[in-house]
Amino acid sequence: MKSPVNIKGSKSSIGFCLVVTLDSNLEYSKLLEEIKEKFTKSSDFFGDVSAALSFHGRNLTDEEKFEIVGIISECTDLNIVCVTEDDPEVEKKMTQALSDNLNRIEAEAEAKKINSGRFYKGTLRNGQMIDFDTSVIVLGDVNGGAQVVSKGSVVVLGNLNGQVFAGAGGNSHAFVAALNMNPTQIRICDTIARSPDNKHANKKSSQPQIAYCENGNIYIENINRESLRDIQLD
């Protein structure tokens, strides 16, 4: 004969959940006894985890639910966090709210990552490449043929002669700064700028410069109070 009380563990979007299927025809007082017996037996198995409960197979009033939860907490060490509804509409809304929340937290973490940075010490030579999720500060030169890729911004404390791709994840506020800005190519987000073709006219800039993206163009200018003020970090 099928047991009148069935317990099934499941992972839901809100954590560990116990799905309790109850016999709909059994007398209520008998059912309580069955529940008590079943949960006492499996008390060791559950331990003291936190779990949500959800009832299936029988329409219960709020009082009945309350009573059953009482029995379960009495005969096990389970920490019942909540009783979830069996209503798909409610379930859907809850899942939606939860995933929205998760997305927001992830986006915040991502933004934090872009604005946090890491150092790379050494000169990047022809054929070498670094690729970071965070912003990068290169302590050395980026030589011709080398490449720096970052989801955030890139600062080169040295000569920048290679290629830089800032805001690689789609952040158009990312910037590129260098003590000596002479790159073959700069990409910020989805905008690409290359060095002018008449290289001889392109004299070495003795000034530290910054490159940023505005209205689909990349601008390079000397670093001063104004250019620093215009930097947006989010």
Binding site: N143, G145, N159
Partner: protein, 264 residues
């Protein structure tokens, strides 16, 4: 215990073989025992530059494969004592040798010679890996052209990754007059990009063409490039040598005039 030096550049035609021949001969003239190894299997020419092509019986691949003893394959130089050449094979390709075998060969030669100099082929493939395998020091040869400097940069990156203990730079074929007019990169410009120790600057010199064709390295002769190569050899053995004045002319009158010019 000998030192194993690899002469490399990445780009072809910048003067690796000429540099190897001249520095090797220079070191031998300074009283060191030297063996030059041509690792460019399939495209050998160090023997031609050294003027020893007609004496080749066994080669590098024969030694590696055990067809002969090392001493049988070493060719003694005709002019300089203590200088030997281990020529490359012409009929095999680079895969005939592995880095481990080259390392073992270098270890064996270390006992008998002060300097083992590897002439590296152009490129960054198997031949390059073979040549650098046993070396503890690298000489990077480059010319003052952007393409050569780029390739040198790549090579330095690869040597850093391979944990080469020491890398020095030689800028070859400088033309002082062009540098002065800012039509050519200066050795300072090259060092600015590569950031490694400069051990020598060799001027562009037509005497090199003559010497290469004759098969007689000109190191130590009274030409500008001959003096430059001798200075490099002396720096390699640890001497502190002042830099050559590349603008200096050889004739009496030009010396006289240059002195005269300096005054105004």
């Amino acid at each position: 215990m000998g030192e194993v030096i690899v002469v490399t550049s990445g780009k072809g035609g910048v003067g690796k073989t000429t540099t190897t021949a001249n520095i090797g001969t220079g070191l031998a003239k300074l009283g060191k025992s030297v063996v030059l190894i041509d690792t460019d299997i399939g495209l050998r020419n160090l023997d031609v530059v050294m003027g020893l092509e007609n004496r080749i019986v066994y080669n590098l691949v024969d030694v590696i494969e055990g067809n002969c003893r090392i001493n049988q394959a070493l060719i003694k130089d005709k002019r300089t004592p203590n200088l030997y050449l281990l020529p490359s094979a012409q009929t095999k390709d680079k895969n005939a040798v592995s880095p481990e075998q080259m390392k073992k060969l270098a270890e064996q030669l270390k006992d008998d010679f002060d300097y083992i100099i590897m002439d590296c082929p152009a490129g960054i493939e198997q031949g390059f890996k073979n040549a650098i395998a046993g070396a503890t020091r690298a000489l990077i040869v480059t010319t003052p052209e952007m393409s050569a400097v780029r390739d040198a940069d790549r090579i330095i990156g690869l040597l850093e990754a391979a944990e080469m203990p020491q890398t020095d730079l030689i800028v070859n074929r400088i033309r002082p007059d062009m540098v002065k007019k800012e039509e050519m990169l200066s050795s300072e410009d090259v060092v600015e990009v590569l950031h490694i120790n400069l051990i020598g600057v060799v001027p562009d010199d037509e005497n090199i063409v003559i010497s290469t064709n004759k098969g007689e390295p000109l190191v130590g002769s009274n030409t500008m490039s001959g003096r430059a190569f001798m200075n490099i050899s002396r720096r390699i053995i640890g001497e502190d040598v002042p830099w050559l004045d590349l603008f200096e002319k050889n004739g009496f009158f030009s010396k006289f005039f240059s002195k005269f010019k300096k005054k105004d």
